[in-house]
Subunit: 184 residues, 2 copies
C-alpha cells in the first residue's frame, strides 16, 4: 500500500500539537518540581489516589487510569513511598496484588501543591481557549483515547500486552460486609 502522507492541514495540526505538548509538559514539570519537588506524573499519581475510594488503588488500576506502564508506576510509587506520601499495602483477596494508598502527608502535599498547579494549567492552556475550544479539546482527545481501547481487541496485528485493562477493586470499601477468608 502506498503511504498516505499527511495533508498540509494535518501537517500543521500535527506540528502545532507536538510542539505545544512539549511546552505544556515542560511547564507543568518545572512548576511542580519547583513548588512540590516532583514531576507532573508524580503529582498525577497523588491526585488520582486522592479521588479514589478510600484513597487507595491497585497498581494496575492506577497505571491504567494514568495511561502509563506498570514498571514506570512501580518506580514512581517507590519514590513517593520513600517520601512518605504514599504507602503500599498488600491485597488480602489477591495476594499478588499491591495497593498504593495516599498517606495523610501525601494528601497534605497534594493540597498545598494544587493551587499552583491549577494556576499553571490555566496559564498555559485554559486561559487561552474559548469555551467552545475546551469542548473541542475534550471531544478530540476522548476520541483518540477511545481509539486505543478498541485497538487491543483486534488491532493491525499489533498487540500491546503490557497495557492491560483494570483488575478487581480490592479496596476495603468495595468489599461486601461479610469478608471471606481472614477467618481466625
Amino acid at each position: 500500500m502506498t503511504t498516505r502522507w499527511l495533508t498540509p492541514e494535518e501537517q500543521r495540526a500535527w506540528r502545532a500539537y507536538i510542539g505545544a505538548a512539549h511546552l505544556v509538559e515542560d511547564a507543568l514539570d518545572r512548576q511542580l518540581q519547583q513548588e512540590a519537588g516532583m514531576p507532573h506524573m508524580y503529582y498525577s499519581i497523588l491526585s488520582t489516589l486522592s479521588e479514589a475510594d478510600e484513597r487507595r488503588l491497585r497498581m494496575t488500576d492506577l497505571a491504567e487510569r494514568l495511561k502509563i506502564t506498570r514498571s514506570r508506576l512501580t518506580y514512581a510509587v517507590s519514590r513517593l513511598e520513600k517520601d512518605g506520601l504514599v504507602g503500599r499495602e498488600t491485597c488480602r483477596w489477591d495476594k499478588r496484588g499491591s495497593i498504593a494508598a495516599l498517606t495523610d502527608e501525601g494528601m497534605a502535599v497534594l493540597e498545598s501543591a494544587a493551587p499552583g498547579h491549577v494556576e499553571t494549567v490555566r496559564e498555559v492552556l485554559f486561559d487561552r481557549l474559548s469555551p467552545a475550544q475546551v469542548e473541542q479539546l475534550e471531544e478530540i482527545f476522548s476520541t483518540v483515547t477511545e481509539g486505543f481501547q478498541g485497538e487491543e481487541a483486534h488491532g493491525t496485528g499489533d498487540d500491546v500486552p503490557w497495557r492491560r485493562r483494570s483488575s478487581k477493586p480490592c479496596s476495603s470499601a468495595a468489599v461486601p460486609t461479610d469478608i471471606p477468608g481472614e477467618s481466625g
Copy 2:
C-alpha cells in the same frame, strides 16, 4: 488570590488531553523504536534537519524548533552522530556555534522510517478526526504555543532562561557569495 479551580468541562478536557497525550507518545515511541531503533524525538530531529536549508541547522535553532532544551539535544545528537545519521560541524562565522547536519545515511534511515511513522500518526490521530477537528486541533495548539512566546518577555515574574529564541542562520546557503573572513 483564591484559586480558580477547573470547571467540570475543563477537568474533562484536561484529563482527556493528558491521557491521550501519553497514549499517543507511547505509540509513536514504540513504533519508531521497533522499526527505526530510535524514539520519536530522535526521529523528529532527523526530520527537522531534512527540511532545513542544506539539511543542517545550528543546535540552538534545532532545539528551538523542537521545543526541547539544548542539553537534551546535545545528548540526542551525540547518539545520532555515533550512529552515523548526523554529523557535527563548526560554524565558521561564530566559532561558538555547532551545526548538526543530516548525513546521507541519516536521510536514508529517515526515508525508510517515514511511511511507518506516518501510518501510526494516522492510526492514532488523524484517521479518527474530522477535517473540522483537524482545524480545531491546529488552532488550539497554535494558540497555546503563542502563549509561550509572549511569556518570556514579561511573564508572571517567571523567566525561562534556558529556552531561547533562534540565533543567526550560519548555514553556507544563507551566506553571501563573497564570504568574509576565511582569508587564507
